[in-house]
């Protein structure tokens, strides 16, 4: 019975915790500029993250290692130092983007410049990190995040044509603005397949002592949770496509994106959008902070754990806090949170091969996963997508920057 409860809770928290600044921003921009055409990118990214999350849980359950722990042990520090530094930079930017997202949400609700809300938000994130265990963080974030189901309600009420949605699930090229389309497609993948999620999920699995006999729970949670979460992300795109696109709104700020709800929810629209954005970003901010501690402690062999009292895992706690401070300082520069989100998402795709490719090797090493290895077809599929995405990002990102 408790396994079933854990399973259902796992699915619910995966759904609630799926949508954050990156997925809202990229899906909204995709919908506002290209209507349903980028639905396939969300479906593809959802499939990738579901497979990767299942693999990271499987690694943790069978080997007792987290992703970072296993990469250090298997590949050595000379390799690990590269993705570690890349993730450090990326997670700082992502954290700043999420803090900016929460601050923008508060601005939408209460007013005032968003920069004024950065420090209070960061303090609350810090307080949650220092005082809560893993289950409270994970489940709390997930349950509160169910407010993002308002996107599902909005999309349902707007009654999109099923035929148009089905057609958009097939990858296609746009009729115009190829580089903008490509950048948003890449950013959608980056928003969904964040490298930090792999280590976060495997760390959580170790903390919750996931066992080999419960691999079916891990599989079900990963595919059902990420699957339904992707659906929520798709409804962001659909809602934007049906409310912002006809009005010629390009979703170039969160304030513009907030306009997608009033046509559906009336006077409550902006409030509901702000709550969805704020809660989604807050949860992601806490997870990124926690993962920074996990990452460093596991790479260097320190005591770690959200279920440990912070004073018993001091270096873990201080490193996480240091990243939170760094992210806060970046956010305080006043850089537009949406721009920061877009940059972070594109950089994520560039960094992905450094984390995902060694991870795929681990999933075929019997010393770590025993008989539960991944098949070659799956490896090649994920490797091609990861490398392809990174190559495309290398081409498209400079085009966007230099093409204005």
């Amino acid at each position: 019975m408790s396994v079933i409860v854990d399973l259902l809770l796992g699915i619910v928290t995966s759904i609630g915790g799926f949508v954050e600044a990156g997925s809202i921003a990229t899906a909204a921009q995709g919908g506002a500029r290209f209507r349903f055409e980028l639905l396939w990118a969300i479906a593809l990214a959802g499939g990738m993250i579901a497979v990767l999350i299942e693999m990271s849980g499987r690694l943790a359950a069978v080997s007792g290692h987290t992703v970072a722990d296993a990469i250090r042990e298997r590949f050595g520090i000379h390799f690990q130092i590269v993705p570690l530094c890349a993730e450090l930079v990326l997670d700082t930017l992502l954290l700043a983007a999420e803090l900016g997202g929460v601050a923008t949400a508060i601005k939408l609700l209460i007013g005032g410049p968003f920069v004024a809300w950065i420090v209070p938000v960061a303090l609350i994130v810090g307080l949650v990190f220092w005082s809560c265990g893993f289950a409270v963080i994970e489940d709390g974030v997930g349950v509160l995040g169910l407010v993002t189901l308002s996107f599902v309600v909005a999309a349902w009420k707007l009654q999109p044509a099923p035929h148009d949605l089905a057609k958009a699930l097939i990858p296609s090229l746009p009729h115009r603005d190829l580089s903008d389309y490509s950048l948003i497609a890449i950013s959608i993948v980056g928003a969904t397949v964040s490298p930090y999620l792999l280590n976060f999920y495997s760390s959580g699995s170790v903390e919750e002592e996931l066992e080999e006999k419960h691999l079916w729970v891990n599989r079900t949670t990963s595919f059902a949770g990420m699957g339904f979460g992707s659906v929520v992300s798709m409804t962001v795109l659909v809602t934007a496509a049906m409310t912002l696109a006809p009005a010629g709104i390009r979703a170039e700020s969160y304030e513009e994106m907030a306009k997608m709800f009033p046509p559906v929810f009336g006077g409550w629209g902006v409030t509901l959008f702000a709550l969805s954005l704020g809660v989604g970003c807050f949860g992601a901010a806490v997870e990124i902070t926690l993962n920074a501690g996990y990452l460093f402690a596991q790479v260097f062999g320190w005591q770690w754990g959200a279920n440990e009292r912070r004073r018993d895992a001091a270096r873990f706690a201080f490193i996480a806090s240091a990243l939170l401070i760094a992210g806060t300082l970046v956010a305080l520069t006043g850089i537009d949170p949406l721009k920061l989100t877009t940059i972070s998402m594109a950089l994520t795709v560039l960094v992905m091969p450094l984390v995902i490719l060694p991870f795929l090797v681990l999933m075929n090493d019997r010393r770590y996963v025993g008989d539960h290895t991944s098949g070659m077809a799956g490896n090649v599929f994920l490797a091609v997508l990861t490398i392809g995405g990174a190559v495309l990002a290398l081409v498209v990102v400079p085009l966007q920057i230099f093409g204005g």
Binding site: S63, G64, H65, D69, R72, E73, R74, F75, G76, I77, H78, F79, I81, F300, G301, W302, Q303, W304, R310, R311, D312, A314, R315, F318, L357, P358, L360, V361, N364, D365, M376, N379, V380, A383
Partner: protein, 222 residues
């Protein structure tokens, strides 16, 4: 037992299960009977030295300035090791080394307590002329005459407790990149198999190793 596969970068805990860090290097003493593993090194200085000598210099200076340790790697002797499994567990409590000085000081600060004192007994002494670090041995170019046949990818030890003498070196095409090379090939179901050379067939001179006899006699790793 293989050094890189079973020991290097593996997590270390004390006798109570407290994580002390990871094995960052190993020390071999070259004796008449052949090279023998005498210790495993952990700590920021050992890690930094493995990455770059300049980093080791900074790590040392930082440790001394913070009065956090001795500015030297922490060397664990083979007799200190109780068990090698998923982690390496020691017979010692962490207080006998400086491995958790920073951690215990931070904990004491959070708890408003006086930090405990740690023993210096495991501070590594400077390398002797007949000692080499594993990080210096791994990746060494191996020659048959004047022809380079590869680099040392792995060091095999008979038994870490009963007889920690080196028995074989595995020579491959990519040396320290072995892990990545194997990784890339493993992605498509292949594996690079290096040549296995008995320890008495390899002599170290300066920054290279010389193979006695023909490389054609060497067997490939299974």
């Amino acid at each position: 037992m293989d050094l890189m596969r079973d020991l290097l970068d593996k997590g270390v805990t004390d006798c109570h299960g407290h994580p002390l860090g990871r094995i960052d290097d190993a020390v071999f003493r070259f004796e008449a009977k052949g090279p023998r593993l005498v210790g495993l090194e952990i700590g920021p200085v050992a890690l930094a030295r493995r990455l770059h000598p300049r980093l080791a210099h900074w790590a040392r200076a930082l440790e001394l300035k913070a009065d956090a340790a001795t500015g030297r790697p922490i060397r664990l002797l083979t007799d200190d090791i109780a068990h090698v499994g998923r982690r390496i567990r020691l017979h010692l409590p962490h207080e006998e080394t400086m491995a958790m000085v920073v951690e215990t000081r931070m904990r004491a600060w959070l708890r408003r307590e006086v930090p405990p004192v740690h023993g210096h007994a495991r501070a590594a002494s400077p390398l002797q002329s007949h000692e080499r670090l594993a990080s210096a041995v791994l990746g060494t170019r191996v020659f048959e005459g004047e022809r380079q046949i590869g680099r040392i990818e792995e060091i095999r030890i008979r038994d870490i407790h009963a007889d920690p003498h080196v028995t074989h070196y595995v020579v491959g095409s990519t040396g320290l990149l072995e892990r990545l090379n194997l990784a890339a090939l493993a992605l498509i179901g292949l594996a690079n198999r290096g040549l296995v050379a008995a320890v008495d067939r390899v002599t170290f001179t300066g920054d290279r190793a010389q193979l006695t006899g023909s490389a054609d006699d060497l067997k490939r790793q299974p």
